[in-house]
Amino acid sequence: MMKARKRERRRSAKPGGESYVFRLFVAGNESNSSQARANLARLCEEHIKGRYKIDAVDVLKDAAAAHKNKVLVTPTLILVKPLPKVTLLGNLNDTRQVLAALRLTGDEG
């Protein structure tokens, strides 16, 4: 099952600041999923460049992982680290809301 998981690792050597781990559940290339992918990548690049990791899971290929994480709708974004865990549903189009939910407003630099 893990093989089906597509991983995108973007880590930087830059020390200091917390590192972020995301798990993004998508359904193939449907429009909401593609938008969520793009939105998340852009936000991360803008706010926590070099300090994040995104695990993208395609539920159409890895239903077991979706089940394990209790994913019911796609896209679903889970902020795994730092704690506390945060779950976001939707294509992440509302940038301000997403940043607030992920605690990425202001002093994360």
Binding site: L60, A63, A64, H67, L72, Q97, A101
Partner: protein, 487 residues
């Protein structure tokens, strides 16, 4: 019993067929007593059935019962719960004696806890593809044929937008049809509102729609079920009362639409030789007899005289007592010398005491029919029909007594109804709850003050299809039963 079943079918859904319908619509039996009859065989196979009703109306139990029946009949099923915890569902089922875990282990049943994280932040549009992917996986693994989506409204509620709700539901519907799953969806409605207005489109989408509700009249709750539509199939169109007991949902057999009463049988002794003479031979077997009179007139004693005589002949009597417990009745009857305990022991007499206000008409009727089925009596005594008003209303009592009487007449069971009248103006009260037209024989008992003492008298007011004395007859309650004084 076979005749009873045939009667029920004719009464419920005349013209519907079980199993394959005319156009080849195949059906999946629900296994719920009475419901398959109303649905003309069961749920539409490979299609979506909607059950809507208020909180506590029985939607979830009904759908779980269908799943369990399917699992036992080689149709594995999945239960998706948007509101309840799987553990709680297992526990509740266990209290009814349903072992879900065993079925889960055998891969016949799968409980999917689909409660959404209440903390989840919704940001932008999404679809239900996630859950469908998980389901697809599961359906293949266990070859599921049935699926229950419990509280689909909870899922749709995620969308603020009615257009998106509809669209996702459309996607879900297509997905279910593609997979040929026989589906049950439950939706909550606001009490007093039949169709869930917000989800009215669900009614149009589903092939079969069932509404369940629970009403309280005169402090007594009754549950009812109605099939609103069933594409491509006939169905019972009435509102059907049902009860939920420890075995699950039971839909009460409906009063048949045709009177199929058996003709009255030969005479059977009243237990008192002189009364038999007054009645030109006794009561007619399989008919209905009303014993009416004021308190203390000797109605119960007269009924027990008959009961005892019948039991001693080896016939079975079911005594439904709404006034006192079996123990107190047995002890009170010792005074007129009627020993009942040995008859109970011998299994020819069964006394069932029920508190009228303890449950609604449907539940009372259900218990009475269950007693009839289990005990198979030749005679039934109801003591007293006046107490039946406490089941809710006069109308409720009438319904109960009328339906019980019908069942007894169809099965050739003699029915003795005791009615307590309040005043001396008995003539007006005698009809008791309006059932007198259904009664074959009416015996009136009264007490009159004559010469400084109370004198008991009885008169036969009516005896359908038989000669009878038209005199008042004086009688005494002795320590050896009842004695009619020679005129």
């Amino acid at each position: 019993m076979a005749t009873a079943k045939r009667r029920g079918q004719r009464g419920v859904a005349a013209g519907t067929r079980t199993g394959k319908g005319r156009k080849g619509l195949s059906k999946v039996p629900t296994g719920i007593a009475g419901l398959d009859l109303v649905l003309g065989g069961g749920l539409p196979a490979g299609r979506v059935t909607l059950i809507h009703g208020g909180a506590g109306s029985g939607k979830s139990i009904m759908s779980l019962q269908c799943l369990l029946h399917g699992a036992g009949a080689g149709k594995p099923g999945i239960l998706i719960m948007f509101e309840e915890r799987a553990a709680a569902v297992r526990q509740n089922a266990w209290s009814r004696g349903w072992d879900l875990t065993r079925l889960e282990k055998k891969n016949k049943l799968y409980l999917m806890d689909a409660r959404l994280d209440p903390e989840a932040v919704i940001s932008g549009d999404f679809s239900i593809k996630g859950i469908l992917a998980v389901l697809d996986h599961r359906i293949k693994a266990m070859r599921a044929k049935l699926i229950v989506i419990d509280a689909v409204d909870a899922l749709l509620h995620l969308y603020d937008n009615p257009m998106r709700e509809r669209h996702e539901l459309y996607v879900l519907h297509e997905w279910l049809l593609d997979r040929g799953l026989t589906t049950l969806m439950t939706v909550k409605t606001i009490p007093q509102e039949e169709a869930p207005s917000r989800y009215a489109f669900l009614d149009f989408m589903a092939d079969c729609v069932i509404h369940v509700d629970q009403r309280v009249t005169a402090q007594i709750a009754t549950r009812r079920l109605r099939v609103i539509k069933y594409r491509g199939s006939g169905y019972g169109r009435n509102e059907y009362p049902f009860i939920i007991d420890e075995s699950g949902i039971n839909i009460i057999p409906i009063t048949s639409n045709i009177l199929q009463h058996r003709p009255p049988g030969p005479k059977v002794s009243s237990g008192q030789a002189r009364l038999d003479d007054v009645l030109a031979g006794g009561y007619k077997r399989g008919t209905s007899i009303l014993l009416a009179g004021t308190a203390g007139a000797g109605k119960t004693t007269l009924a027990c005289v008959f009961t005892r005589a019948a039991c001693l002949r080896g016939e079975r009597v079911l005594y439904l007592n709404f006034e006192e417990s079996a123990e107190s009745m047995v002890s009170n009857m010792l005074s007129p010398g009627l020993t009942l305990q040995p008859l109970i022991k011998a299994g020819t007499l069964a006394v069932r005491s029920y508190l009228p206000e303890a449950m609604g008409v449907e539940e009372h009727l259900f218990h009475a029919l269950k007693d009839l089925d289990e005990f198979q009596p030749q005679h039934v005594v109801v003591d007293a029909i006046s107490a039946c008003k406490r089941m809710g209303s006069e109308q409720a009592a009438f319904e109960y007594l009328m339906r019980l009487l019908n069942v007894c007449k169809e099965r050739g069971i003699t029915c003795i109804y005791i009615n307590q009248t309040s005043g001396l103006e008995i003539a007006q009260e005698i009809s008791g709850i309006g059932i007198s037209s259904l009664i074959d024989t009416i015996i009136l008992l009264r007490q009159l003050p004559i010469g400084g003492a109370m004198t008991r008298q009885l008169i036969v007011m009516k005896s359908r299809g038989s000669k009878h004395s038209e005199q008042f007859h004086e009688f005494r309650i002795t320590d050896r039963g009842i004695d009619l004084v020679k005129a």
